[in-house]
């Protein structure tokens, strides 16, 4: 079949003329500078490769907890905006060892946008290495390099219920300080109940702030302080919307503060599901305890959000199995090519530490953000050897499993390893 559009000859000429048209279009071009394009600028503003900061204020919240205010080292820079509940990874060199730690931003996104600061809150005792060191070393004027904000522990109106139950333990209050202040302000149809577990009144971080917040939003924010030690709690304010409890965050306690369906009017609100979204942040012991207690509610996974930055429980039976007294040998090929085996670095790993920690302890500078196996920023190639990855921290992609890539931050050596680690693009030391 012969197809013609405007006539055989005209069509053929038109075809040849497409090239002429092309040249004509080019000739008529008005030269303009195209870069940087708006979306690349927006990406750079929201997700800078690194942020150089200095500490501008230090506040002692409790005997063991400090809040540091961070502002850009260069006042002309703007800190990246974020979603309340996200964390930044701070890169530091501790006693000669390069380490990075994720910390929830405890200040609000609005404060970053309007006043150009983040706050991070660090408690000693939960991290035996970094936290005490930071308390000794960090002061006003200290310079730090940190990552862009990241993480998925935030209130998402398209997913989460209009009533949210927050379960915080100890320093796990930090992301909630941001989430509560931000969401109460920006989501007028959302209610929050915070069950905040600490040992005693002295350990309450942001105690006064949370009370004040409750008084500002009496209908939408219920504050329940849960003291595990039965002492002196009388001196902590309690009243409408603010309660004190003794013990732990048990199923019984949670049930007491989850309102019945339908609200006071008794009117059926089909919109509101029976079970609220539950957000959890706290030390590992609290996760284990609260997870068991929550089983009574049969929460579907969509109703459960957890932040566990780096705290995860590996199965002791798996870690250190076939423990070699001297530890496992990890051979790090420095790049992804196969030609530079001569430049490899060999180190010894304690079987009870993650591959990432072993790399850092050996003075290497691997990329790392979440330290939970989730974000994949440390993704590296396992050339040979066997690793153990706790199931709940196995965020590997299916093709990575197939082709031998792994996340050092959530992997324990089980044999000698040969690995390739990508460079860390964040300039840590200056």
């Amino acid at each position: 079949m012969k197809v013609t559009i405007k006539g055989p000859l005209r069509d053929t000429i038109a075809f040849v003329r497409t090239l002429k048209k092309r040249n004509r279009v080019f000739k008529k071009a008005i030269l303009k500078s195209l870069s940087p394009a708006p979306m690349n600028l927006l990406a750079a503003a929201l997700h800078p490769r690194e942020q150089r900061m200095r500490i501008t204020a230090v506040k002692q919240d409790t005997p063991s907890t400090r809040t540091y205010r961070l502002e850009p080292e260069d006042e002309k820079d703007s800190l990246a905006f974020f979603r309340a509940g996200q964390y930044i990874t701070i890169e530091e060199t501790v006693e000669g060892t390069p380490v990075s730690r994720p910390f929830s931003i405890s200040s609000t996104p609005d404060e970053a946008a309007q006043n150009n600061f983040y706050e991070v809150t660090i408690k000693t005792g939960e991290d035996g290495f970094f936290a005490p060191w930071s308390q000794r070393e960090w002061q006003v004027g200290t310079r730090l390099t940190c990552s862009e904000p990241s993480g998925t522990f935030y209130y998402e109106p398209l997913r989460d219920t209009r009533h949210v139950v927050c379960l915080a333990g100890g320093s796990g209050i930090t992301p909630f300080r941001s989430i509560l202040r931000d969401s109460l302000h920006h989501y007028p149809d959302v209610r929050f109940t915070l069950l905040y577990g600490v040992t005693g009144p002295n350990e309450l971080i942001f105690g006064n702030e949370l009370s004040a917040l409750q008084e500002s939003y009496p209908d939408r924010f219920s504050l329940v302080r849960v003291f595990s030690e039965e002492t002196e709690q009388d001196r902590v304010h309690s009243g409408a919307g603010q309660q004190n409890e003794t013990g732990f965050i048990t199923a019984e306690l949670i049930r007491k503060y989850i309102p019945k369906r339908g609200g006071k009017s008794g009117a059926k609100t089909n919109e509101e599901p029976a079970l609220p979204s539950v957000f959890i942040c706290g030390p590992p012991a609290m996760y284990d305890f609260v997870s068991c207690e929550l089983e009574a509610f049969s929460l579907p996974p969509r109703r459960l959000r957890e932040e566990n930055y780096g705290h995860f429980a590996a199965d002791p039976a798996q870690v250190g199995r076939d423990n070699k007294p001297m530890g496992w040998v990890i051979t790090v090929k420095k790049d992804h090519g196969s030609r530079h085996a001569g430049q490899k670095k060999v180190l010894t790993a304690d079987p009870s530490e993650t591959v990432l920690t072993a790399l850092e302890r050996a003075g290497l500078n691997p990329p790392a953000f979440c330290r939970s196996g989730e974000c994949g920023w440390c993704r590296s190639r396992l050339v040979s050897g066997e690793i153990y990855v706790p199931e709940e921290n196995d965020g590997r992609r299916q093709a990575d499993l197939k082709f031998g890539w792994f996340h050092p931050c959530s992997s324990y050596p089980r044999s000698d390893l040969v690995i390739e680690v990508p460079r860390n693009p964040i300039g840590r030391r200056r």
């Binding site: 927006l42 929201l46 996974p301 197939k402």
Partner: protein, 517 residues
């Protein structure tokens, strides 16, 4: 920096800038053919848009909807055959059952379109009685255009007009026209076009401006061959390439952004990374677009010929996307999702649909939805499903969005896309959302570095479609040792084109290097 300071050799035969699909293929081909190759990638993952990400129990496919499957057709050439047979990469593919379901909410159209040309024509005839004749002629013509492309591929090096004119007259005679003009000429009824046109969004140009040739090849390859996806998301394709490159002795550096492409005397001499390392090369294959290279990467800027700047200033950049990725806590059966691919729009007037994507708050945009589990049941745990809703957006529409507005803006677009999907399909998905991520042009800019977060390359209008690009390649080579690959190169955008463009770029580079030697 201490620790992993790369102390690589700094001299290479070929440096490949960017590990998107084109760059991966180029690095693979060049290393396979014994070249000393360095592949530099700014992100910590290969693939560009061809990757994956994990949220909770779900691993999402960021961009691929489907690739035409040539494995069933003996004489066909195409990307899947290249990956499997020629490159010999270890990729598991799964088939997609039907072509698509098109739902046009203002026109009361809801039709499931099958693969296989006769079945496709039957489906159109059932909905639009009397259309069989013209639609059959149309599909035949599309097949013929596809044949000509195969001929062009085979005669890339010895192509001349006379031969083309004699043997492939229909290709020539339709080559200057838009897809709409050809459909007019063949008297395809409007209602039939409603069913045939949904794939327009894979190319992103309205039918009255879209080169008929490229459209015909796309439509024919899907409908006559069927389609596949990799079992482990498109990260499987990218990872397979990386393994191949490493086995061939090529070097790959992730987290390594190239800030400058160095030139001297009209030649590319090497690159400089953000860390300040310099690598020299005999030739560069760029997966970064001509726009990025000629506007900002080449140094010194005075080395960029005026013609190169005219080129990138006059071509129309394609559109970007918003994608809503949903991990749902119910299986497809429970949700009532029966189809892999849904095209949902109020109507199929593509010029109007295209107009809509210049602003962020328009109702009645078109979306392409994919339920991965229908083709790939094991992609998520039992009792869950993965659904991705995609809509085109011009990046300019986002230009005024501030960081503070950004999360709300994308949230409200996601809300509208979810609502549109639920209303069109009569399903309820929002109460099952366990994980949600929303990608925008900003997201694509962030992860790939693409100019303005653009997902597609230059718009393939008749004057800027594959054939004019190929025929102009000689004129438009501004640096003799520079070739482009990826969605902005001569094959236009899409997975298959991007991958195969890497091979062509290496063919041409080796030709150049051999001529030098």
């Amino acid at each position: 920096m201490q620790g992993y300071n790369y102390t690589m050799d700094n001299k290479y035969d070929i440096i490949v800038l960017g590990a998107g699909l084109g760059g991966l293929c180029a690095a693979f081909e060049a290393s396979k053919r014994g070249q000393k190759v360095l592949l530099l990638e700014r992100h910590n993952l290969p693939g560009g848009f061809a990757t994956s990400f994990v949220r909770g129990r779900f691993e999402f496919e960021p961009s691929l909807h489907e690739m035409p499957d040539v494995s069933s057709i003996e004489e066909a050439s195409g990307v899947v055959r290249y990956l499997k047979d020629e490159a010999g990469l270890d990729i598991d593919f799964v088939s997609i059952p039907d072509a698509y379901r098109v739902i046009l909410t203002d026109k009361n159209v809801d039709v499931r379109m099958p693969f296989n040309v006769p079945a496709f024509i039957d489906a159109v005839e059932r909905e639009v009685p009397g259309s069989r004749g013209p639609v059959t002629a149309y599909m035949d013509l599309c097949e013929e255009i596809q044949d000509t492309f195969r001929y062009l591929n085979e005669h890339e090096k010895d192509l001349h007009y006379g031969d083309l004119l004699k043997k492939h007259g229909n290709f020539i005679r339709t080559g200057a026209y838009s897809a709409e003009q050809v459909a007019d000429s063949l008297k395809i009824p409007r209602e039939a076009r409603d069913l045939i046109y949904p794939y327009w969004c894979y190319l992103g140009v309205p039918m009255d401006r879209m080169s008929f040739s490229i459209w015909a090849a796309l439509l024919n390859s899907y409908i006559s061959w069927g389609a596949v996806i990799p079992k482990r998301r498109s990260h499987e394709i990218s990872s397979a390439f990386i393994r191949g490159i490493q086995e061939n002795g090529g070097e790959v550096c992730f987290n390594t952004r190239v800030d400058q492409v160095l030139t001297a005397d009209g030649r590319i001499t090497g690159v400089e990374t953000e860390a300040g390392e310099r690598f020299s090369c005999r030739a560069l294959v760029s997966n970064a677009s001509p726009t990025l290279l000629f506007d900002s990467l080449i140094s010194p800027k005075t080395e960029v010929p005026a013609a190169a700047r005219q080129n990138i200033s006059s071509r129309k950049h394609g559109f970007s996307l918003v994608v809503v990725y949903l991990g749902l806590d119910a299986g497809p059966d429970e949700l009532g999702l029966e189809d892999y691919s849904y095209f949902i729009a109020p109507h199929m007037y593509t010029d109007q649909l295209y107009q809509k994507i210049h602003e962020l708050d328009n109702e009645g945009i078109m979306q392409a939805a994919v339920c991965l589990n229908i083709a790939n049941p094991d992609c998520s745990p039992p009792g869950t499903s993965i659904l991705a809703l995609t809509a085109g957006f011009r990046s300019e529409a986002w230009a005024g969005v501030t960081p503070q507005e950004y999360f709300n803006v994308k949230g409200s677009i996601a809300y509208r896309l979810i609502t549109q999907f639920e209303q069109a399909t009569g399903t309820g998905i929002r109460q099952h959302i366990e994980e949600i991520e929303i990608a925008t042009p900003q997201t694509f800019a962030r992860y790939t570095g693409a100019y303005d977060g653009i997902v597609y390359g230059y718009e393939p209008e008749p004057w800027d479609s594959i054939v004019p690009r190929a025929l102009s390649a000689g004129n438009e080579t501004y640096f003799a040792n520079l070739q482009f690959c990826g969605g902005f190169s001569f094959r236009c955008h899409g997975y298959g084109s991007s991958i195969l463009s890497g091979k062509t770029a290496v063919d041409k580079t080796l030709e150049f290097l051999e001529a030098q030697a």
